[in-house]
Symmetry: C2
Subunit: 108 residues, 2 copies
């Protein structure tokens, strides 16, 4: 959950990344950590949430603009990770770029 | 991952539900299965993805309109589940309603 409740009042943007991994780690965990750390230092970054079970992984990152999402997609280190993603880590993934229109939360 | 690649070309809508559970099952798993089954029979439903690790759960459901999302939120059985969610199952949750603007995927 970490830093997601720092997201502001909508509208803002979300990137929903759903994936099915290949077998084995193949350097994935280390690179994933590095990418989260790097993403969180980008301009326009608002937060990230991630969960993975046996088959499916879902990571949602939040951004203040489509420009910030595009800049992160084109970031050199991130592009290298994307290439490794296609050759080594993922059987399948899907990326959805969304505009968050409304949000509400509950706390016990 | 199941049925998510049935989602059409954008635009469509996504509900991102992120949660932190209370300890123990407390009838959660059974109800969660029932809700997925029921949601998938609603008008305007396009797909659902879910992943949970030790702390965080993320479920994203996809819908063809805001009206379909509203109708599901107001569904009687779903409302009962939402109440149990607040009393028994969740320490925290956040709901974000989004418009999916773009999507792309990769398959090995």
């Amino acid at each position: 959950m970490s830093n997601t409740d720092k997201t502001p009042t909508p509208p803002y943007y979300a990137v929903i990344f759903t994936s099915v991994r290949t077998d084995g780690d193949n350097g994935y965990e280390k690179m994933a950590e590095k990418m989260v750390e790097l993403a969180s230092r980008q301009k326009g970054f608002l937060g990230i949430e991630s969960a993975r079970d046996k088959e499916t992984g879902i990571t949602v990152s939040y951004w203040d603009s489509l420009e910030a999402i595009k800049a992160w997609k084109e970031h050199t280190a991130h592009k290298a990770a994307q290439e490794k993603g296609q050759t080594d880590w993922y059987k399948h993934y899907k990326v959805r770029i969304c505009r968050v229109e409304r949000a509400y939360s509950f706390d016990q």
